[in-house]
C-alpha cells in the first residue's frame, strides 16, 4: 500500500439519477482490495451478494471482505462517527451523493479530522447526457455535478454508437477532469482511487490494464521542478499522487494530486504519520508510463 496522508482517503461519487452510481458502489465493494467504508442513502439498492454479507442491522452492513456499508439516514455526523468506530479502521471512505446533490458540497466533508479528500467522481450516462444537460428542470443540476468532478466516468458507452457528442459536451463543461469510459460502471479501482497497481490484480477486458510507477527521493523539490513535471507529463499518465517536501518550507509535508489535468498542492493536515522525503505514484494504461516519467524531479534543481 502506498502511503497516504491520513487514516482514511475519501472518494465522493456523484451523478444524476440512473447514471450508474449504485452500480459503481457495488463494483467497488465486490472488487475491493482494501477495507472500504461506503456511505449511501439507501442500502436497499445496494445489491450485495448474499455470501458477501457478514452481518447487518438497520444502519450498517458488514461484508466478509472487511468492507462496511453505512446508511446516511441520520446524517453525515452520525455516519462518520459510526465509520470512525470500526476496528481496524477502513482505509477509504466512499460517499455516494444523492442524485440531485452537488458532489462538490458533499466533498467538503472529506476534510474532517482523520479524513483526506481524494477525488470527486461523477458518473455520466453516455446515452442520456445530452438530454439531461438540456432538461429545463435538472439541466443546471447535472451541469453543476459535472463541473465539480475530478474524475468523470462516462458510463453505458456500450449503449451508444457515437460518443463524440458526449465527449464534446464533457470537454465544454469540464475539460480538465480525468475522463474514464465504462460500461456497467466497471472501472479500474487503481485508477479511480489513484493507488499503486498491483500485479496480482487480474485484468478485465472491459476495464483495460493499468500500470503505475513510483518516485521516491530524499531531497526537497523545487516548486519549479514540480511545475515542469506537470507541464511535461506524458499525456497518458492519468493520475499522480503522493507527498512531497518543497525547498521553500521542507518541514511542511505537502500533498500533491494530479487527476486528469487538474492538480493541487496543499499542506498535509495530519502530519503524525507523514513519510520523510518525497513519494509519488503515477498511473496510466499499461505500457504508457515511461520509466523516466519523473526525470524532471531527478535532475539537479
Amino acid at each position: 500500500m502506498f502511503p497516504t496522508e491520513a487514516a482514511m482517503e475519501v472518494s465522493v461519487i456523484g451523478g444524476y439519477l440512473g447514471v450508474g452510481k449504485t452500480t459503481l458502489v457495488n463494483h467497488i465493494l465486490r472488487n475491493a482490495s482494501e477495507r472500504i467504508a461506503v456511505l449511501v442513502n439507501d442500502f436497499g439498492d445496494i445489491n450485495i451478494d448474499k455470501e458477501l454479507i457478514d452481518a447487518s442491522d438497520d444502519s450498517t452492513i458488514s461484508l466478509t471482505n472487511g468492507c462496511i456499508c453505512c446508511s446516511l439516514v441520520d446524517g453525515f455526523a452520525t455516519a462518520l462517527e459510526t465509520v470512525a468506530s470500526f476496528r481496524p479502521p477502513p482505509s477509504r471512505l466512499v460517499i455516494e451523493a444523492s442524485g440531485v446533490a452537488d458532489p462538490g458540497a458533499v466533498a467538503a466533508y472529506g476534510h474532517a479530522p482523520g479524513l483526506a479528500l481524494d477525488a470527486v467522481i461523477v458518473v455520466a450516462d453516455a446515452a442520456r447526457l445530452r438530454e439531461q444537460v438540456a432538461d429545463p428542470l435538472v439541466g443546471q443540476t447535472v451541469v453543476s455535478q459535472l463541473t465539480a468532478a475530478d474524475v468523470i466516468v462516462l458510463n453505458k458507452v456500450d449503449l451508444v454508437d457515437d460518443l463524440a457528442t458526449s465527449h464534446q459536451q464533457i470537454s465544454e463543461l469540464n475539460p480538465d477532469a480525468l475522463l474514464i469510459q465504462a460500461s456497467h460502471s466497471e472501472v479500474s479501482l487503481d485508477l479511480l482511487f489513484g493507488r499503486e497497481v498491483r500485479k496480482a490484480q487480474l485484468s478485465n477486458s472491459h476495464i483495460g490494464e493499468f500500470e503505475s510507477r513510483t518516485h521516491e527521493s530524499d531531497q526537497p523539490l523545487s516548486r519549479k521542478a514540480l511545475e515542469t513535471l506537470i507541464n511535461e507529463l506524458p499525456k497518458n499518465i492519468q493520475r499522480v499522487k503522493g507527498i512531497v517536501r518543497l525547498t521553500e518550507s521542507p518541514q511542511v509535508p505537502m500533498v500533491f494530486q494530479l487527476v486528469g489535468r487538474k492538480w493541487e498542492l496543499r499542506a498535509l493536515a495530519d502530519r503524525s504519520n507523514s513519510p520523510e522525503g518525497n513519494q509519488l505514484v503515477a498511473i496510466g494504461p499499461k505500457g504508457s508510463v515511461p520509466t523516466d516519467w519523473d526525470r524532471t524531479l531527478r535532475s539537479k534543481n
Partner: protein, 559 residues
Amino acid sequence: MSEARLKIFTAKKIITMNPALPFATAVAVQGERIVGVGTTEDLAQWGDHDVDDQFKDHILLPGFVEAHTHVMAGGVWEFPYVGFYDRVDPSGQTWSGCRDIDSVVERLVECEGSLEDPEQPLNAWGLDPIFLQGERLVAKHLDRVSQTRPIFVYHASGHLATVNSEMMRRSGIDRHTPTPGVAKDAEGEPNGELQEPPAMLLAQDGFLSIGAAIMSSNAKWNYAREARNCGVTTVTDLGTTRLAMEGQLEAWRDATDDPSYPARVVVAVGHFDFGGKPKESNEMALLAVRLRDEEETAKLRFGIVKLVLDGSIQGFTARVSWPHYVDPPAGHPGNGLWLIPPEQMADIVSSYHDAGLTVHCHCNGDEAAQVFIDAVETALEKHPRWDHRHTVQHCQLTTAAQYKKMAALGMNANIFSNHIFHWGDQHASVTVGEERAARMDACATAEREGVRFSVHSDAPITPMGHLHTAWCAVNRLTASGRVLGPEERISVSKALEACTIDAAHQLKLDHDIGSLESGKLADFAVLESDPYEVSREELKDIAVWGTVLGGVPHPADSE
C-alpha cells in the same frame, strides 16, 4: 364513576370561528371537551355547574393552530441568545437584542461567568451579522470572552457559526485546514467563521451539541411553553427523521403525556431519500402509518409526511421560474437547488398517498410548487383519493394558475406570511424583484381561487406568534415599513380562520379543534384585547394571557 363537573367559563367575548354562532360570552366545559357555547343562561340547561369568571375581561378564541414550526424552536433556548432583535424566551423573559459586537461580547461574558465547569463549551445562537454595523464578528472578539473555554456561536441562518481561538485549537482548525467554508483572513489564518455544515462539523463540541439539543426533553417542554405564551394550543413539528431513532417516540410520549404539558403536538415524519419506492418498502411510510394508527394520544398526533423539494428564496436556493433571481451572489448557478429529483416526485408522493398519508411538501419557489402539484395529480390519477389535503408548505411564489390547479386537486396551502415582514424588502430588491415580491405569499389569491390555507412562522426561523403572523398577512408591512403588495392583503377574519380552523383542517384535526363548538376540545387562546376592535396595524401587539388546553388554564410565562 362520576363524570367531571360541568364548568362554565365566561368571557368578555368569545370569537368561536364557527360561522353558525360566531360570537358568544360563555363556554361550558366538561373534562377536556366543550359541552356548549352561548350565554350562561343558554348553558344552564346542561345542569349543575360552576362558573369560572377569571376570563370575564378577556377575549377567547379557539386555541391557535401552528401547522409549520420545528421543535428546534424549543431546543435553541438551551443556549443564550445573541440575535439582533429582542426575543422572548419560553419562560417569558425578554432577551434584549445585541445591536453591536460589544453587546454580543458582553452577553457572552455574562453567560461565561455562570458556567461552573471550565471545560464546558459555551454555545450561543441567533447571531445575524447582516444587521451588525461595521466589522464582522470573528474569533478575536470572542477571545475577549474567554481564551481557555471553547465558544461556538450559531448564526440565525443556521448556515454559519463563529468560534473563538480556543475552539479552533481544540478542533485542529488552523491555516492548513483545507475544508471549504473555513473562512481565512488576508494572512491565511482562519478567522473563526465556519460556513456550512462540513466546516461547522469541525468544531464538533459546538455543532453537535446544538443538533443534540432538539432531542432533549427540555426542548420539547420549551417548545410547548413558547406555543402557550403566544396562544398556540396545537403546534406542528414539521418533519423529522428522528422519530425513527430509538427512544424519540418515547421521549415525545413522556413529555406530552404529562398533564401539565401545555400543547398538543403534531409530529410529521420527514421523508428520507429511499428512491421513490412503493409503499411496501418505504420505511418512512410504514413508520408514519404505524404512528398514526397505534401511537396517537390526546396531545400527540401523527399522519403527516414532510418532503423538502427546494431551498430558500433569501439563500437563492429556491427553485424559482424564469427570469429567476434579480441579483444573485457571484458564482450563483442561476437557479436554486433540488433536494429531491423532480422526476422521482410522482413516485415518492404516490408511495405516501397510496398509504393514506397526507403529504406536506416544502416548496418555496414556484417551479418547486409546480413539480409537487404535478406529482399530486399523477398520484391521484393512479389512485383517486378524496380529501387527501396534500399541502404546499411555504408556498411563497405560487402563482394564480397554480392555486387554481391546487383547488381543482383538493390541495391546501400553508403560506409563509412572516417573510413579508422579515425579508420582504430584500425580496423586492435582490431576490425575485418588485412585481413577484408584491404577489408572493399570496393569501388573497389563495382565498380568491378557493384554496384553503393557513399561515406560519416556521419557528425558530422566525419567532412563533400567530398574532404577528396574522398581522403580516393582513398588513403586508416590511421591516422598512412599506406595504408590499397591497392587493394580497386579507381581512382580519380570514387571517384568524387561517390561524385556527383552516390550519386545523390542514392537519386533519378540524373535527376536534380549530373552532369553539359543542363536542370539540376545550382549547382556547386567551387574549387581552379583541382582534376585531384594535386597528389592523395593532393586531400583533395584542397581549396574550395564555391558553386553555383541554379545559385547563395555562397562563403564559409560567413553568
